[in-house]
């Protein structure tokens, strides 16, 4: 690619304008990103009305605070 600055833009555009099939590596990457958001985001950040606990990321931040 001639201009490296276009790469992140292209990645963002391809993530937004999704044309990939299931069971492709791009699909797997999207699934990983979604699962990371769902499981790692502390429920308190989202004001989750039903979730209990802080999730893995909240636990890690609390651990850092303690140290």
């Amino acid at each position: 690619m001639s201009n490296p600055a276009t790469l992140p833009v292209r990645i963002l555009w391809n993530a937004f304008f999704w044309t990939y099939e299931r069971a492709t590596w791009q699909y797997d990457l999207m699934v990983i990103a979604i699962l990371a958001f769902v499981w790692l985001t502390p429920p308190s950040w989202l004001g989750d009305p039903t979730a209990s606990g802080n999730g893995p990321l909240g636990w890690f931040l609390a651990l850092l605070d303690r140290n």
Partner: protein
């Protein structure tokens, strides 16, 4: 093989057994579709009561019916235009039922913010199906955008089993907005190309 492809292959083993049983019993696929809806309504009741694990288990059972109806139709040579139409309509009812269960729960908890987020996610989930159906009456195919029904259902299961439904509603909502936008843009481009080719 990709990670998601491997999961799909593993899940096919028990599903194959259920499909073979339904074919042996000659259960009509349209009945399987309707039973799936009834089970989804039961799942929605559990979600509305805040029983996420129970709701998740029922969603899994409901979607087994949803998944196998098409396969049973093929094996019984009962594929019909009405069957496809019936399946699509029932799928929308099933989707709406699950969202309504959550809207009831969040309203009951006094969380109008999440009731609203869930309502918006529901609106765009329905529009995802509508935009494709309407587009495919004008162009050959409109299968773009990430957040289709299988993804929504798996996310519902993940949210229910791990008690992270709020995050799941955000994901479904935001990605459904993108999916609807993708389909509008794609249809616009395809129609413009056709018009230019004619002119």
């Amino acid at each position: 093989m990709t990670f998601t492809g491997l999961i799909g292959r593993i899940c096919m083993f028990p599903l194959r057994l259920i499909i073979n049983t339904c074919v042996a019993l000659r259960i009509h696929p349209n009945i399987l579709t309707f039973v799936g809806l009834l089970i989804n309504v039961a799942a929605a009741f559990e979600l509305a009561r805040g029983h996420f694990i129970r709701g998740g288990v029922i969603i899994v059972v409901a979607n087994i019916f949803d998944f196998i109806d098409g396969k049973v139709a093929i094996e019984l040579h009962a594929v019909s235009a009405f069957g496809g139409f019936w399946d699509s309509v029932i799928d929308r009812f099933s989707d709406i039922a699950l969202f309504l269960g959550l809207i009831y729960l969040y309203s009951h908890l006094g969380r109008t913010d999440y009731a609203m987020i869930t309502a918006i996610a529901m609106m765009f989930a329905i529009m995802t199906s509508y935009t494709r159906a309407r587009a495919e009456s004008l162009i050959k195919k409109c299968k773009v955008g990430f957040m289709e029904r299988p993804e929504r259902i798996v996310l519902f299961m993940i949210g229910a089993f791990t008690n992270r439904m709020a995050a799941v509603m955000w994901v479904i909502g935001v990605l459904s907005v993108f999916t609807v936008a993708d389909r509008i843009i794609y249809t616009y481009r395809e129609l413009r190309e056709t018009e230019e080719a004619v002119a």
